[in-house]
């Protein structure tokens, strides 16, 4: 695994998950996730996915500036999510980060691009479930790990304001 590939994978993952690079590295699983995607889909698919992401970012950025969010969204949809081979893989990468589980790719994908030995549904490590980003997104802990402490559940969830969109939950307590 080249360091560049890991960097590219992190960059892709930041865009796919809306979690920061330090959060992704903070799971301790970035390398294992990249290796898992390679084992499940094959090297060529991963290379193509990372290339498509680089191209999307370039397309969305004007003159080397930061990519414009709307243009990046469009570029990702066109180059990755709607792409027959890359779309299902990208969606699986999202779920991998969020759930810690690699979900088996749809049968039509494996029919077209071949089944790798490590392609079926599995948790990557015992830790990967605990590091699922899903739980952070809803300000909860993965059931069975990272407990918040006695009685913390009586307070409102610490969901970031930007996701509450003004729907207050201050009416209690």
């Amino acid at each position: 695994m080249t360091p560049d590939a890991l960097e590219d994978f992190l960059s892709l993952s930041v865009d796919l998950t809306a979690f920061e690079r330090t959060d992704l590295l903070g799971t301790g699983l970035a390398r294992q996730y990249l290796a898992k995607v390679r084992d499940a889909c094959g090297e060529d698919v991963v290379t193509a996915l990372l290339e498509a992401h680089r191209a999307a970012r370039t397309e969305a950025a004007e003159d080397g500036a930061r990519p414009d969010p709307q243009r990046l969204d469009r570029a990702l949809r066109h180059r990755i999510f709607s792409e027959e081979r890359l779309g299902p893989v990208a969606r699986n990468v999202i779920k991998l980060w969020y759930a810690g589980t690699w979900y088996g790719l749809p049968p039509e994908w494996t029919d077209s691009y071949g089944a790798q030995p490590a392609a079926e549904t599995s948790t990557v490590t015992a830790a990967s479930y605990q590091e699922g980003l899903l739980w952070r997104a809803i300000a909860a802990n993965p059931p069975g790990a990272k407990a918040p402490g006695y009685g913390a559940w009586a307070r409102p969830p610490a969901i970031e304001d930007r996701y509450l969109k003004g729907r207050s939950h201050d009416r209690t307590g």
């Binding site: 865009d15 599995s122 948790t123 918040p148 509450l164 209690t172």
Partner: protein, 641 residues
């Protein structure tokens, strides 16, 4: 304080040597009933042998962590996911349930289901039993639950009253370590001693409960001409909270944390892992391994694991049990076993309401009145789910902190089943596999990623509300556990066959529960997303409406207690009418399952029975003649006790 499991204890007792000893009591099953009885008999100076079907391993922290790792690594995190599959002591699994078609029993899993109603009910066969995965709600039964037949003409009466059992409820709450407040738990006739406080203070209601309470508290409900107001009430919980300094006249209470052979300090207070079922990662939740570890510190209490009871042998003249024949497997992954025997003055079957009758029936002991295995009960669960108008922080807290209990009792029970209501802190997980199902749907079908995915998760998951209605099922002799030599397990033990149907009485309660859920959702301004799938294995139609009905793992009623030996299997001490030195203990003895989770009552009944056992041991000082198939091992022996 950690609970010390004596190192090496699980392997210390040699089964063959133990077979040459006549114990005061042999107990089949190392769950809560067996563990409590073993601890109490041992403390009274009696010799005890516990036989447990699970692996003969010490309860160590490492062992517990291996359960946790198995849970973390499992792609399907069902009730049994932490516990190893063991073909020698198979366990039913929630995922086993299949639709049953008339006349075609489903024998694909351990419990053979002959229907007509399929159930996903489970129990766990490892040391500590089903308390390993229980949720640990510990409500007492209502006084009226003990008199269902005479008050409401439904189900059966108990030979005991609430007042008879109340002192043992106090003791059970001590043994389990219950967190609750007396004020919250005094309703519908439940009373406490004047100065009683629970060992620990009640757990706070979740934020989700509080959001629900805002609109539900004070909601008027009229049923059978009686008006009542609903309120969200905290559940008493068998998990460690803040010790109440006023407990036991000001002595206070010291919570028991994890079980280990080495000092470890976790589990003295619930941390809100939201994983009571299937496994509390820190052992803040009570499990019977804690009691078992304490019992085994007594040198008079022995344990043989990997011991699956095969046959109860009875003296044909006296009816007394002479020995229990069991199969001791060498290793969980090998079917090789040796036949061993356990002898004692008293025998206690504490295997649960399916395994107790299974063993008796497999031994040819149907009972003089043919009631063994009949009157199987469980709770029928109806789920209703909705989306709240605002994020309420679903998926935080213990699995369930609050609920609605006003419809647990009342004269409407003449006509329809009572129920209690759980507000689930784990969202639509039970009904629809949330939140993973939401994630998959948002990503795969919704095209969400990045910020829009994070937004979608808050919108879809943090707003989830699931109400679980736990509806009572009255005793019915045709709901039953049987055996058939055609169905055996790996070790040659006959498997349980379950015949189960949900009566109309319960379905009337179910239908009412569904209507009530709609009213509650309307009051909350919540969007009702409940939809019952006709292809669901537990789909039941009543009054033209279909419902998904799930099992509750609250097994009861298969060796019911009663006043009258022609109408019951055990007396009020859980002693067999037919076999005077045999006790069948646990949920099987309960004549009604009513609307309480059964474990607290099982514990109270077990503690109460210990007194009868000790009285009987004291009275029966005569020599015991060990006969029966002891010839196989030598001549009949006279044993002086």
């Amino acid at each position: 304080m950690f609970v010390k499991f004596p190192e090496g204890e699980a392997k210390r007792t040699d089964p063959t040597t133990a077979g040459g000893v006549v114990y005061d009591a042999v107990i089949v099953g190392g769950g809560i009933a067996g563990a409590l009885i073993a601890a109490r008999l041992g403390a009274a100076g009696k010799s005890v042998l516990i036989l447990d079907a699970g692996p003969a391993e010490d309860l160590t922290l490492r062992g517990y962590e291996s359960y946790l790792d198995r849970f973390y690594s499992a792609t399907n995190k069902d009730n049994q996911s932490p516990y190893p599959v063991n073909p020698n002591a198979p366990m039913p699994r929630g995922t086993d349930a299949r639709r049953i078609f008339p006349g075609v029993p489903d024998s694909s899993a351990y419990i053979v289901q002959s229907g007509p109603f399929a159930t996903d009910t489970t129990y766990t066969r490892v040391l500590g039993g089903t308390t390993m995965h229980w949720e640990a709600k510990t409500p007492r039964m209502l006084p009226e639950d003990f008199q269902m037949r005479s008050l409401y003409g439904e189900g059966a009466d108990w030979p005991l009253t609430y007042e008879d059992l109340a002192p043992y409820y106090n003791e059970a709450e001590y043994e389990i370590g219950v967190s609750a407040d007396v004020d919250d738990q005094s309703y519908l006739g439940i009373t406490f001693d004047d100065d009683y406080v629970f060992p620990m203070q009640g757990l706070p209601l979740s934020y989700l409960d509080q959001v629900v309470a805002r609109d539900v508290d004070g909601m008027p409900v009229e049923l059978d001409g009686v008006q009542r107001e609903l309120r969200v009430r905290p559940w008493p919980q068998g998990r460690n909270g803040v010790p109440n300094p006023a407990y036991n006249g000001g002595e206070g209470y010291v919570p028991e944390g994890a079980v280990s052979t080495y000092q470890v300090e976790v589990g003295e207070r619930c941390q809100g892992n939201n994983n009571c079922v299937p496994i509390c990662p820190v052992q803040a939740k009570y499990h019977a391994g804690k009691t078992l570890a304490r019992a085994l510190q007594n040198p008079q209490v022995h344990l043989v694991g990997q011991a699956v009871a095969y046959k109860v042998h009875v003296d044909e003249h006296t009816g007394r049990v002479t020995e229990i024949e069991y199969r001791r497997y060498d290793k969980p992954d090998s079917a090789h076993f040796t036949t061993e025997r356990a002898r004692s003055r008293l025998f206690v079957l504490a295997a649960n309401a399916v395994e107790n009758p299974r063993l008796m029936l497999a031994s040819g002991l149907r009972g003089s009145n043919g009631l063994m295995g009949r009157n199987f009960m469980d709770h029928a669960y109806l789920l209703a789910w909705a989306r709240l108008p605002e994020p309420a922080g679903t998926f935080r807290g213990t699995n369930c902190t609050g609920g609605i209990t006003e419809l647990r009792g009342g004269r409407f029970r003449r006509r329809q089943a009572a129920f209690s209501v759980d507000i689930h802190n784990d969202g639509w997980g039970w009904a629809r596999g949330a939140p993973m199902s939401d994630l998959a749907d948002l990503v795969d079908a919704g095209g969400r990623y990045g910020e829009s995915l994070r937004q979608g998760l808050v919108d879809r998951v943090s707003t989830q509300l699931l109400l679980a209605f736990m509806v009572e099922v009255p005793a019915n002799p045709s709901n039953r556990v049987t055996v058939d030599p055609a169905y055996t397990d790996h070790l040659g033990n006959m498997r349980p066959i379950l015949t189960y149907d949900i009566p109309d009485y319960t379905m009337r309660g179910v239908a009412y529960a569904r209507q009530l859920s709609k009213r509650i959702f309307a009051r909350l301004g919540a969007e009702d997303h409940t939809q019952y799938d006709p292809s669901f294995w537990g789909y039941a139609v009543y009054g033209g409406e279909g419902y998904e009905i799930r099992g509750g793992n609250h097994l009861a009623g298969t060796h019911m207690m009663g006043h009258d030996r022609s109408m019951s299997v055990v007396d009020k001490d859980q002693r067999s009418w037919d076999h005077e030195n045999l006790y069948l203990v646990g949920g099987g003895s309960m004549p009604t399952v009513s609307t309480s989770n059964v474990t607290l009552t099982i514990a109270a009944l077990s503690l109460r029975s210990v007194r009868a056992m000790l009285d009987q041991l004291a009275k029966e000082s005569a020599p015991i003649r060990v006969t029966s198939e002891a010839r196989a091992q030598g001549l009949p022996r006279e044993v002086t006790l």
